[in-house]
């Protein structure tokens, strides 16, 4: 049945994240952007929310809540509203752990998951993106060759979230005609980690680049074991998570523009009283709504265990375009002030441009 109704649990999670967003993320957003660094205590504080361990089964020391991509989408919208870079950093452990929860072998779950259920921050990281133009999910340049006993990984990865402190990487590589994911420890021979990269936006996130020069891992390091895994599923999860963050970012822009436009006067009245501005705001609202429902629909397909490839693709492409468009208009509503770093809209503009090209840097 078609229903847009949140459960009481989802509403509670939304409220909790909304206050974390207001009290923790928003106040730190600008200073982290300027310093291009995560605040000292931030990852620890975010860890206390239990985002990662909540969805790890009790069997592996987690809290055993059901994996719910829909609840995650609701949570991520709130975190994205607070600050996308901090949200991306806080989510890095989940994108690694959830891939193992969803597709790992029993052995892999036992080996890797308990580490994410302790009191101290712990992270692995997904390594999907590659440097250079024309990155194509269907034609990865990183390869895995097998000798039967082990896999040999070659290639380069970029935009690896928290790559500087991850204990393991989930490296997506081309294996014959298909794609597979491999769990690679940070001290693997032949792996070099560099960074942080400097970018247009998401400045607070330490993104690393990986160079895989004949990195050898045992066959048991392949996610899903001999059966392998469905890489598209990891991508779909990532796309939905990014879409949810972009919904939050876009909503934040509107919420900032509305009071500004009511306050700012031109030609003897608030600029919000002019249709040129009022219609821009209305259009921004129309689009943020559409972005959210597309995201929910894709998240719901993931949750129901259906193939969510089409839904996730639609949600991501639409959200990416409209989030950028809304952030862009946010600057326009503020005019010259939108260009000045005293206001957050220029930062949101840079973050929107950056997050919307990050296929696979966040997945919950």
């Amino acid at each position: 049945m078609i229903s847009f109704g949140m459960t009481d649990e989802q509403k509670a999670a939304q409220d909790a994240m909304r206050s974390f967003s207001q009290n923790v993320l928003r106040p730190k957003a600008r200073s982290c952007d300027e310093a291009a660094k995560l605040p000292e205590d931030f990852l620890g504080k975010a860890w206390e929310l239990g985002l990662t361990m909540a969805q790890i089964p009790e069997k592996y020391s987690g809290m055993g809540s059901d994996r719910s991509p829909v609840t995650n989408a609701i949570i991520l919208e709130e975190l994205g509203y607070g600050d996308v870079p901090l949200a991306v950093a806080a989510l890095a452990p989940s994108l690694f752990a959830n891939a193992i929860v969803d597709q790992g072998t029993e052995e892999q779950k036992k080996t890797y998951l308990p580490a994410f259920c302790g009191e101290k921050f712990e992270t692995g990281s997904l390594a999907l993106l590659e440097p250079g133009p024309l990155f194509d999910l269907g034609k990865l340049k990183t390869t895995a060759e097998t000798s039967g006993k082990e896999f040999i990984l070659k290639g380069r990865k970029s935009f690896v979230t928290l790559g500087d402190r991850a204990s393991h990487f989930l490296v997506i590589a081309k294996q014959g005609n298909s794609r597979d994911a491999f769990i690679v420890p940070k001290d693997a021979k032949g792996l070099s980690i560099s960074g942080p990269q400097k970018n247009l936006g998401l400045n607070a996130v330490p993104f690393a680049a990986l160079e895989l020069g004949n990195v050898r891992v045992p066959t048991s390091a392949r996610l899903g074991g001999d059966a392998g895994c469905d890489v598209q599923k990891i991508i779909n999860n990532s796309r939905v998570a990014l879409s949810a963050l972009m919904v939050g970012l876009a909503r934040g822009v509107i919420d900032y523009c509305v009071p500004y436009a009511k306050e700012r006067e031109a030609f003897d009245e608030a600029i919000a009283k002019k249709q040129a501005i009022a219609f821009m705001l209305a259009d921004m609202h129309i689009e943020v709504e559409s972005m959210r429902w597309l995201t929910w629909k894709a998240a719901s397909a993931l949750e129901q265990g259906r193939d969510a490839t089409k839904e996730a693709h639609q949600a991501f492409v639409y959200a990416a375009e409209k989030c950028m468009w809304i952030a862009d208009n946010g600057i326009q509503v503020l005019g010259g002030h939108g260009f000045i770093r005293e206001h957050p809209v220029e930062m949101w503009f840079r973050n929107a441009r950056t997050v919307s090209v990050l296929e696979g840097a966040a997945a919950v």
């Binding site: 049945m1 078609i2 229903s3 847009f4 109704g5 949140m6 459960t7 989802q10 829909v70 024309l134 990155f135 194509d136 999910l137 269907g138 034609k139 598209q232 991508i235 779909n236 509107i254 509305v258 436009a261 009511k262 919000a272 009283k273 249709q275 009022a278 219609f279 705001l281 209305a282 259009d283 609202h285 129309i286 709504e289 559409s290 972005m291 429902w293 597309l294 929910w296 629909k297 998240a299 719901s300 397909a301 129901q304 490839t309 089409k310 693709h313 639609q314 492409v317 639409y318 296929e359």
Partner: protein, 396 residues
């Protein structure tokens, strides 16, 4: 019920039923497009028997725990019917926009008395469209005979020729502005009420659009919808009540346009697949053709629009306010269907403009979506006022 976007078996059954009859309707799409003057009832068409596909309610009873709600299904059913053909669907429809007004504003007695008729809705006048508070048609009470006397002209009355009666907006007190506007039920055949004209249009030619003249037209006193004769001094409570009619009709109009746009998308997809264009989702921009990307963007736009329509309907069926969401749905769909039908023609090129196919007709049919029941601009005014917490006086 938790967040869900899937259809139950019953939901699917209902929609498949409509699709099957819509496919028959499509056979007559061109006929009605080319015979604008025709008032031939679809029931008289050679394959009319195919329209009647009663759904076996006994075998598939409604289960509120698993099946979609009435309003949401109403939107999906509208889309499925319009996917077949606009004209055939509207001509078969019992009831018009006036029936929605009767439901929203009529007394129980009035609903019982006129609910079975097909009622049109007459708001627009030669001098006023988007701003109905400027209505000039007047209603004057004759206390001697207990009758209202209507005088004025109405245009763009949807289904106005075929309707058995009309809900017409008229002012009982011009000085009172919006508060003076009331709606009146006028039956066809009432002396002084004439259908002056049937319009010739760009699209939806099978759906008649009339112009009315009220010339000292006398109607019984009890034909005032809702029965409230007094004019409120402050505010516009009564007017707002009438405007509430739009909270379901606006998403409904979105659904109408989206059904037409879906037909255009389906036709275009068939052509592209026949030409072996890879339309699969999941990959990156780097490996897509421009045509595939363009088509997927249109398909995505359609889905986004559909969800805003369903959202507005879902709120309504939950008894939650949906004034703003109804406008979001209408504004989104109005713009989306224009772009979708235009985009499909861009993709198929000259094939898209040939009258050998229906695509050019769908472009013409969908164009009204962004105009009637409040233009896209009016919807944006409503959305902006809500967003900014502004009154009509603050922002107009």
């Amino acid at each position: 019920m938790p967040i869900d976007f899937t259809l139950s078996e019953r939901d699917k059954g209902l929609l498949e039923n409509i699709r099957a009859s819509a496919l028959i309707a499509r056979k007559y799409a061109r006929y009605y497009d080319e015979h604008e003057e025709s008032e031939l009832a679809p029931e008289q068409l050679p394959e009319a028997a195919g329209f009647k596909r009663p759904f076996d309610e006994k075998a598939h009873p409604y289960n509120p725990k698993t099946d979609s709600g009435m309003a949401v299904m109403g939107m999906l059913q509208t889309m499925a019917q319009m996917w077949g053909d606009y004209a055939v669907r509207l001509k078969r429809q019992k009831g018009g926009l006036g029936n929605a007004a009767l439901q929203a504003a009529g007394t129980p007695d009035q609903q019982k008395k006129w609910g079975g008729l097909t009622l049109a809705m007459a708001i627009t006048e030669p001098g006023c469209g988007s701003d109905p508070s400027r209505v000039q048609t007047s209603a004057t009470l004759d206390p001697k005979t207990n009758e209202w006397i209507l005088n004025g002209e109405k245009i763009f009355v949807t289904t106005g020729v075929r309707a058995e009666g009309v809900v017409a907006w008229a002012t009982v007190d011009k000085a009172a502005g919006r508060a003076g506007i009331k709606s009146f039920l006028v039956l066809k055949g009432t002396p002084g009420f004439t259908v002056a004209k049937k319009e010739k249009k760009l699209g939806i030619r099978g759906d008649d659009t009339a112009a009315y003249v009220f010339d000292n037209c006398r109607i019984p006193r009890e034909n005032l919808l809702g029965g409230k004769e007094e004019v409120e001094k402050e505010g516009s409570g009564g007017f707002k009540g009438v405007m509430k009619t739009f909270n379901m009709t606006r998403p409904g109009v979105g659904a109408i346009g989206l059904g037409v746009a879906e037909a255009a998308l389906d036709f275009t997809r068939e052509q592209l697949e026949e030409a072996h264009v890879d339309l699969s989702y999941g990959g990156s921009l780097a490996s897509q053709t421009a045509i595939a990307k363009k088509f997927q963007d249109l398909e995505t736009l359609w889905e986004a629009s559909r969800l805003t329509v369903l959202r507005a309907a879902w709120l309504a069926e939950k008894g939650k306010p949906n004034n703003m969401e109804a406008s979001v749905a209408k504004a989104h769909a109005g713009a989306a269907v224009r772009r979708i039908c235009q985009g499909c023609i861009e993709i198929l090129g000259t094939m898209g403009v040939s009258r050998e196919h229906l695509l050019e007709k769908w472009l013409r049919d969908c164009r009204i979506t962004d105009i009637y029941e409040g233009t896209g601009q009016i919807q944006r005014l409503i959305i902006a006022r809500t967003l900014l917490d502004y009154t009509r006086e603050d922002l107009k």
